[in-house]
């Protein structure tokens, strides 16, 4: 069954996530939903990177005697950085949103543009 799927499925999945996130960021009017979109969007890259590093029959990248083929460890390091960056961005954006709500009493981006 799984052979019927296109071979680069994980990459397509990451592009689908990218488009979903971008769509939410552009069209959703609620600022929190925009940030959710941003999170989906940045997760798509993480999926892409982690899928990229996988190799057939690769073991987890921790030195074990007798194992010669590990998955590529570099993307894992990159993903860790990506997660941390997303954490910093999201927390800052959320606190920004709280303050925006306190100042303008709305989270609707269209109403906010009119101000």
């Amino acid at each position: 069954m799984i052979e019927l799927l296109p071979p680069n499925l994980p990459y397509f999945a990451s592009i689908a996530l990218l488009l979903i996130g971008l769509y939410a960021m552009i069209t959703k009017r609620n600022l929190i939903k925009k940030i959710m979109g941003l999170n989906i969007f940045s997760t798509s890259v993480l999926l892409f990177l982690i899928a990229m590093g996988y190799r057939e029959g690769g073991a987890p990248p921790i030195e074990v005697e007798g194992v010669t083929h590990y998955v590529n460890p570099l993307p894992h390091a990159l993903v860790l950085t990506g997660i941390v960056v997303a954490l910093a961005l999201t927390s800052f954006a959320l606190i920004l949103i709280i303050n925006i709500y306190k100042e303008h009493k709305t989270l609707d981006s269209e109403k906010l543009t009119k101000l």
Binding site: L38, V45, F92, L96, I100, E103, L115
Partner: protein, 495 residues
């Protein structure tokens, strides 16, 4: 222990260490934050001067962080271009920190000053890191550092609307950084390497145009958002005009330049060997977008009533000049573009400092109320006039020389670009002369009432005067930067 070897990394780490120390010591005494920031930025400025001499001698200085040789570890590569821009960043960053001393109390409560000075050092350190690095992923990390500090510095004021401006900046710019990370993934997938030098050697061997070009396009889009190129500029006017003036200086004079620098780095260094035949494909839309940016930015600037908003729109136009020079890809235009980076940095920094000084002393933001400012603040307005004439491209100031080079390069390519440069300069003449005419010749309506102090404090006057003199000096002694830039351009185009 030979310290001179370590200047590139010390330059960056000192700023970061200062940023870590500032909140820590700020717990103990809020007054100590300013001296720390001045010290760290001053040391890094001195180091970047020394580094520039060493780069001029050796052409390229590299530094292997952690002692791992390039494709395995991270390499810092400092060529004349990055060293030159690093000096600009260091000097203007230092001046912005000095300018903050008296200004900051005016817009930011004392409780937040440790955070403010920490973020200032982080944003300067992030920019230095982005300039020095020779590693694609490290470029992303450094970009993220100065971006996050930038969002926070926009939101730090109490002014209404600052949060919203910061949020819009965050939303659009993080699309840009995610695209950058995506295309870093593409390029890593193709070559298996993250080192720029290594990638540029490997790319010509790889026959996979789709992945490569979409990676390049994504990178360019990402950095174009960072540098506010025309259709992606919507975050800039709000963010740059609402931020405190020293932050406007950093954002407008430096941060958007780092985007342009990164485009140069990616196009000419990473993809340099591969693109010798095919840059036209990407260069043509880029150059048209840059021309549109010149016209649209200048046109919008004419209709602004707020001085800082006007300067922000003018920045959109000037990033257009720079990227026009970059995208035309000839020696002349590239020289002009990079020279214009210097001139715009000096001129725009001076103008934003002047605007900050005017707001500090009189509280006026509206251009129509500028009447009589020439007699109230003669030095500031003189500096404003010099910097504005530099950005307009009036001959004695340095902006003329860079626009001259740009014009020559543009004429070789297509006369329309030359026309765009001329029209843009004319439009910038209109909006700058409007300000100067009101300040110098308009009759004073009311007797001056709420003016603070007899003259600006020294910490605010010094940056303004230094930058105004520099704008004039580089116009007369244009050999100095031009020889340096020509060396940089030769190196970039030699691939």
């Amino acid at each position: 222990m030979n310290l001179s070897l370590h200047y590139p990394i010390l330059l960056i780490v000192i700023l970061f260490a200062g940023a870590y120390l500032t909140p820590l010591l700020g717990l103990w005494n809020k007054k100590i934050c300013f001296p720390i920031a001045v010290l760290s930025t001053l040391i890094s400025a001195v180091l970047s001067v020394v580094l520039l001499f060493s780069v001029l001698e050796n052409n390229i200085v590299s530094y292997y962080v952690g002692g791992w040789e390039p494709p395995y570890g991270i390499e810092l590569t400092i060529d004349p271009l990055s060293s030159f821009l690093s000096l600009v960043v260091a000097v203007i960053g230092f001046l912005a920190v000095v300018f903050s001393k008296n200004y900051v109390g005016h817009e930011i409560s004392e409780k937040k000053q440790p955070a403010y000075y920490s973020l200032l050092q982080l944003i300067i350190g992030g920019m230095q890191g982005a300039l020095m690095t020779g590693d694609l992923f490290n470029l992303f990390v450094m970009t993220e550092i100065f971006s996050i500090s930038g969002y926070a510095l926009v939101a730090i004021t109490q002014k209404k609307g600052s949060l919203l401006a910061s949020f819009r900046y965050l939303l659009l710019a993080s699309i840009g950084t995610t695209f950058i990370l995506f295309s870093t993934g593409f390029i890593y997938m193709l070559t298996g390497s993250l080192n720029m030098e290594d990638i540029s050697n490997l790319l010509p061997l790889i026959d996979n145009p789709w992945v490569m070009y979409s990676g390049l396009v994504l990178l360019i889009i990402g950095f174009a958002i960072k540098s506010a190129l025309f259709p992606l500029h919507t975050w800039l006017p709000d963010a740059h005009s609402i931020a405190p003036s020293p932050v406007s200086v950093l954002l407008s004079a430096l941060v958007i330049k780092i985007g342009a620098y990164s485009i140069i780095r990616v196009v000419y260094t990473v993809f340099g060997e591969r693109l010798s035949d095919g840059f036209g494909l990407i260069g043509v839309p880029l150059s048209w977008m840059a021309s549109m940016a010149i016209l649209v930015g200048s046109l919008y600037a004419i209709f602004q009533t707020d001085i800082k908003r006007m300067l922000a729109f003018s920045s959109i136009a000037h990033i257009g000049y720079i990227l026009l020079g970059v995208s035309l890809a000839s020696t002349l235009s590239l020289t002009g573009g990079i020279f214009h980076m210097l001139n715009h940095a000096l001129g725009k920094a001076c103008l934003f400092f002047c605007a900050g000084a005017i707001i500090y002393r009189t509280g006026i933001r509206n251009i129509a109320d500028f009447a009589g400012l020439s007699s109230k603040m003669p030095i500031t307005m003189a500096a404003f006039a010099i910097a504005a004439s530099s950005l307009m491209g009036v001959p004695p100031a340095s902006g003329f020389m860079s626009k001259f080079y740009l014009g020559l390069g543009a004429y070789q390519e297509n006369w329309i670009f030359l026309a765009v440069i001329l029209i843009g300069s004319l439009l910038s003449g209109i909006y700058f002369f409007k300000v100067l005419a009101i300040a110098y010749f308009s009759p004073i309506k009311e007797p001056d009432s709420k003016i603070r102090g007899p003259e600006l404090p020294f910490s605010m006057l010094m940056p303004i005067v230094i930058l105004a003199i520099a704008s004039l000096a580089f116009g007369v002694l244009e050999d100095l930067p031009v020889t340096l830039i020509e060396q940089a351009v030769r190196l970039l185009l030699s691939n």
